[in-house]
Amino acid sequence: MSASRTIITRRAFAGGAALLGLMRSARAQGFAGLSEDADGFAQVLPGKDFVFPADHGPHPDFRIEWWYVTANLTDVAGNAYGLQWTLFRQAARPGPQGEGFANQQLWMAHAAATRADSHRTAEKFARGGVGQAGVVDKPFQAWIDDWQMAGSDRTDDASLAPIEIAASASNFAYALSLEADRPVVLQGDHGYSRKSEHGQASYYYSQPFYRARGHLSFDDHSVEVSGSAWLDREWSSQPLASDQSGWDWFALHFASGEKLMLYRMRQRSGNYTSGTWIGADGRARPLGPDGIVMTPTQTVEIGSHKLPVSWRVDIPALSIGLATTPLNPRSWMATSVPYWEGPISFTGSHQGVGYLELTGY
């Protein structure tokens, strides 16, 4: 297996990796070129002022970027579901944007729908410059073919809500309305999110407070669903250090209204752990690398991949001790760059639901 397949990076990075995987670049180093030199691309530096709606739109000077929605849903009978809607952007080269088909942006999208006994995925690709895929900040719109995440005149810039997301594939489809009454949350140091001790970083903000309502269909069987959704926005030019092989990432909705984001970058010497605790009021508190303990408790084997799908998470400073369980342990994204992404639930000091992402296994 080529390096680009075995070593997969984290969610957003998966997008870039997939596009690069498609290109199978001979120049690529590290995994699929994600740790390539960022020469010519804009750099991620601390102290950026986020401006909305402009920052909801694309940042073509950076190498990669994504719009990433996950939702934990239930139907009236109480059955749990999960869904994913992701749009990735990758620039093939730096410099001024080419016109029409000469544009250097490549777009990729993943959609998935999960229930306890089934996990469906789909994938799309498009070139930039001609309108087949893209993102517009006002009124907000992100799309690729007929998959879209669309705002309207009513969409508030600060909360990026209300908004509609929809995707359809041969064996599943969904359409959800998302609403939120709190502004987006800047991750890390005011939106500057470190990925290693060596300066690799991304700009990162989230909207974890979406309330979702809509319908979801497996094959042609449709159900009404509602629940919580989480948007991640991230862009960078060199998000991974050369010795990082992948990551484990959590987005958790606490039943009591708080949110927790955690990630662990796996690298050759020690892991780089980070996270954000978000109060029910929307106030964010960054968590340092030292205060988080993440321990796999159970793995499943999918093909040749060994995946830690159940975890024990401890944050002593917050008196948090959680045990997580996947809704469907086989939430494997069999896309051109494969990874694991699926809904989970947790118990322990707190209860709730969330999403887990495992890449690079």
Binding site: R24, A92, G98, F101, L106, G131, Q132, D146
Partner: protein, 820 residues
């Protein structure tokens, strides 16, 4: 197993003692397989290239969205359709000139290209990056590369000074096509933000109705089951196939006679095997196995021969296809494994079919022979009757097909039924003729001559049938070719009445050339012409503008015309149509047609029908002034020039100098004629070669039959020798006998051949090409063929006859001494 092998060895021992019979069998199988698979190879090769042409990024094989006006449309529609759920992929297309060669430039968008459209044969995933990122790639077929005299990595300059991305070899691509990324193609073709068509993938998501997204601008074109090229060239391939089939049948005749003879000779052996304890099932299994082994060996040899034949003929076939239909077929043979497999299978099936009667006889073989002395005569008489009845049935089928059939296939059906019927009737006719001879004979020896000939018929009949068929087809085809040749030459003279043909780059140049030419004293007339394209009944049609000039009036070959046809052309409300068009649309003189023209339909009365050989498109000829009125955009860039033939070279040289024209823009009449004739000669070269092969096969059939008969005939000849005829005289008599039988066959072949020619000219040609030729008989040709047939018979009988003449008396005596 040992037992089976021993039985096989015993069966095979027969061939060791009768090598000529084995040779006959093998030659029959080999030639059947060779000609059949050779023709299949040619067809397969051609079809493969049509497929390649059709499959390039959809081509005619994928549903497409095109603009209603056929023009390019804004690429924004692409994104709108994608967002509406349509799995479309854009293509931009145009023609470019590289160093004088014209090529089709295709811009594709590999990322949205639906998988089923066939990016697989053209773009590997590995190459995607190189294809997409600067400087990109130009995918090109090996043939195109060779044509352009370029190599991989070159970046040729186009006539508009743009430069192509580096060339990259792509063997699956059709010749004459250059494939680049759509972004590059838009730049190269000057079609920024434009696309020519959208390929529609077959993923089944929800789609908004087309109307709602694109309004009336686009329409969906469903894929053709058959491409245009396939339709056009079908008849040509059918022709080839018919010849292949004929050769196959002739080959099987040989096999049948060889197997039949061997079986008769092996009857006692088979009985002995049964009596000594071989069960019927075992014996039959081994007999079939023996046949399969022989068929496999012969099939392999036949395939090799077939490959050689196909390789030898392919350049001609490719040239005809290009000349007649514009179909690009590479001149190099590349065959798929299925071809080899199919060849072996056909060889085995052929052998089993040819041996079926013998095998069934073996199956029913009673162990105890009842020696019935004259039974075989009865059997032969019964068989002759059955054959005659079958022959009449075939004739009835032929008549029925002639009466009811409309298609080309029916035409070939008539031919096949006629020929098979005639072949089956042949032994009866020969028998009848020889009996007449016998009755008319006074002298004992002469009487014996005829009677003995009659006895020989059963042994020779299959070979003679093969000869009959081969000769008849030869007569038929050569008559057709000769007819065509003559008609074509006369027609060419009429159509190409002017001396020089000039085609200017644009109208300005055309005007300049005209005035320059008019100023030259040696130029007798300058006749401008034009050509517009339109559609009639869904098919493209050319509208030709003819000047009102004596050159056309006196020479243009009209098949039918109304009175004063040329005069009536001038006002512009009358026109001539080509024979193909008249047949296709069932139009005749006096009918009216509505020609779709930019300013509205143009109502034209048909006042003449002319021959337009070799043109797959229909054509309408009108007055040139009327044409420019109705089709204002028609460029008048073509002109014909009348001058004294002696002035032609200097005039052409002067023209080329003055206006920078080259061989493609200015041509003299003689060159056009030469090229046209070459195309047709090549077409018929293929037919001729297959024809000759078939005749050769028939000759071999005759030879081998005579050789196998020779031994069996000793008991008939020995008594004559004993009563005082010298061996030489005997040999001479044998030769005469073969010759007379062959001569009767050949004489019968002549009328049959003429019927075949009539079928070809009146049915097959009309259906296949849309034109009918006058039916002429060429007696000299017939005489020549008669002589060829007799020479073949002499050649075939020479070896056995020489053997007889040199035979040792002891061998003849043995006939009397060995108890049988």
């Amino acid at each position: 197993m040992r037992r089976v092998l021993w039985i096989l060895a015993v069966l095979l021992s027969h061939w060791r003692r009768h090598p000529m019979q084995l040779a006959t069998l093998l030659i029959g199988l080999i030639s059947a397989t060779a000609l059949w698979s050779g023709v299949q190879a040619l067809n397969q090769q051609a079809r493969q290239s049509y497929d390649r042409a059709a499959a390039i990024f959809g081509g005619a094989r994928t549903p497409m969205l095109v603009a209603r006006d056929g023009k390019a449309f804004p690429q924004a529609l692409f994104a709108e359709l994608r967002r509406a759920g349509w799995p479309v992929s854009p293509v931009v297309e145009g023609r470019v000139q590289i160093d004088g060669h014209s090529a089709r430039l295709l811009g594709i968008e590999p990322i949205s290209l639906p998988v089923e459209v066939g990016n697989a044969p053209t773009l590997g995933r590995t190459d995607l990056e190189a294809f997409l990122t600067a400087p990109g790639q130009t995918l090109v077929a090996p043939e195109t590369l060779a044509d352009l005299e370029l190599k991989q990595g070159d970046t040729p300059r186009l006539s508009n000074d743009a430069t192509l991305p580096p060339l990259k070899l792509q063997p699956q691509l059709a010749p004459g096509v250059l494939v680049v990324d759509i972004g590059a193609a838009q730049q190269l073709l000057g079609k920024s933000d434009q696309i020519s068509r959208l390929l529609v993938g077959n993923s089944h998501g929800p789609r908004k109705p087309l109307q709602q997204v694109a309004g009336d601008r686009l329409m969906q074109v469903e894929p053709d089951a058959e491409t245009d090229l396939e339709r056009l060239t079908d008849s040509f391939h059918l022709n080839l196939t018919a010849f292949g089939l004929l050769s196959f049948v002739v080959g099987l005749f040989i096999v049948n006679s060889a197997v039949g003879l061997a079986f008769e000779q092996r009857l006692p052996m088979l009985r002995t095997l049964r009596a000594c304890g071989v069960s019927a099932r075992q014996l039959n299994t081994v007999l079939v196995a023996e046949l399969v082994v022989l068929a496999l060996a012969a099939g392999l040899a036949g395939l090799v021969c077939g490959y050689v034949i196909a390789a030898a003929l392919l350049p001609n076939v490719a040239a005809s296809l290009r000349g007649l239909y514009g179909a690009q077929v590479p001149g190099e043979l590349s065959l798929q494994p299925e071809w080899w497999l199919a060849g072996l299978v056909i060889s085995i099936i052929g052998a089993l079919a040819a041996a079926a009667t013998s095998l069934i006889k073996a199956l029913r073989l009673p162990i105890l022979s009842s020696a019935q002395a004259y039974a075989w005569q009865d059997a032969q008489r019964r068989w002759l009757k059955l054959q005659s009845a079958l022959a009449l049935a075939f004739f009835a089928v032929a008549a029925l097909l002639l009466w009811l059939g409309q298609s080309l296939l029916a035409g070939f059906g008539v031919l096949a039924a006629l020929m098979l019927g005639a072949a089956l009737l042949l032994p009866s006719i020969l028998e009848f003729a020889l009996r007449l001879g016998e009755r008319g004979a006074r002298q004992a020896l002469v009487q014996w001559f005829w009677a003995d000939g009659r006895q020989q018929i059963s042994g020779l009949s299959l070979a003679l049938m093969a000869l009959l068929l081969a000769l008849a087809v030869n007569v038929g085809v050569s008559t057709m070719v000769e007819t065509f040749n003559r008609t074509f030459l006369v027609w060419l003279d009429g159509r190409l009445a002017a001396d020089i043909y000039v085609s200017a780059a644009d109208e300005a140049q055309a005007r300049a050339i005209q005035s320059w030419l008019r100023a030259r004293p040696e130029v007798e007339a300058v006749l401008p012409g034009g050509r517009a394209e339109t559609q009639l009944a869904g098919a493209p049609v050319d509208v030709l503008g003819l000047p009102d000039h004596a050159t056309y009036r006196d020479h243009w070959p009209l098949l039918q015309s109304a009175p004063d046809a040329w005069k009536r052309l001038v006002p512009g409300d009358a026109g001539f149509i080509s024979e193909q068009l008249s047949r296709r649309l069932n139009l005749s003189v006096g009918d009216y047609i509505d020609i779709p023209a930019p300013g509205g339909d143009w109502d034209v009365e048909i006042v003449g029908i002319y021959a337009d050989y070799g043109n797959p498109k229909g054509q309408i000829a009108v007055n040139v002034a009327a044409l420019t009125r109705r089709f204002p955009a028609t460029p008048l860039t073509r002109m014909a020039v009348r001058t004294d033939p002696a002035n032609v070279p200097t005039l052409i040289a002067a023209l080329s100098n003055q206006f920078g024209l080259d061989g493609r823009n200015v041509v003299d009449q003689a060159s056009i004629k030469r090229e046209s004739k070459q195309i047709f000669n090549r077409t018929f070269a293929v037919t001729g070669a297959l024809n000759a092969f078939t005749l050769g096969v028939a000759g071999v059939a005759l030879l081998t039959s005579l050789l196998t008969l020779a031994n069996a005939r000793l008991p008939q000849l020995a008594p004559l020798w004993a009563i005082g005829l010298t061996r030489r005289r005997l040999a001479l008599i044998e030769l005469l006998k073969t010759l007379s039988v062959a001569a009767i066959t050949a004489l019968l072949a002549l009328p049959l051949g003429l019927v075949v020619a009539w079928c070809l000219i009146a049915i097959v040609n009309v259906k296949a090409f849309g034109w009918r030729l006058p039916f002429d008989v060429f007696p000299l040709h017939l005489i020549r063929l008669l002589i060829v047939a007799l020479l073949a018979a002499v050649a075939a009988s020479l070896l056995p006859v020489l053997r007889l003449a040199r035979m040792q008396p002891a061998d003849l005596v043995r006939v009397f001494t060995i108890e049988r």
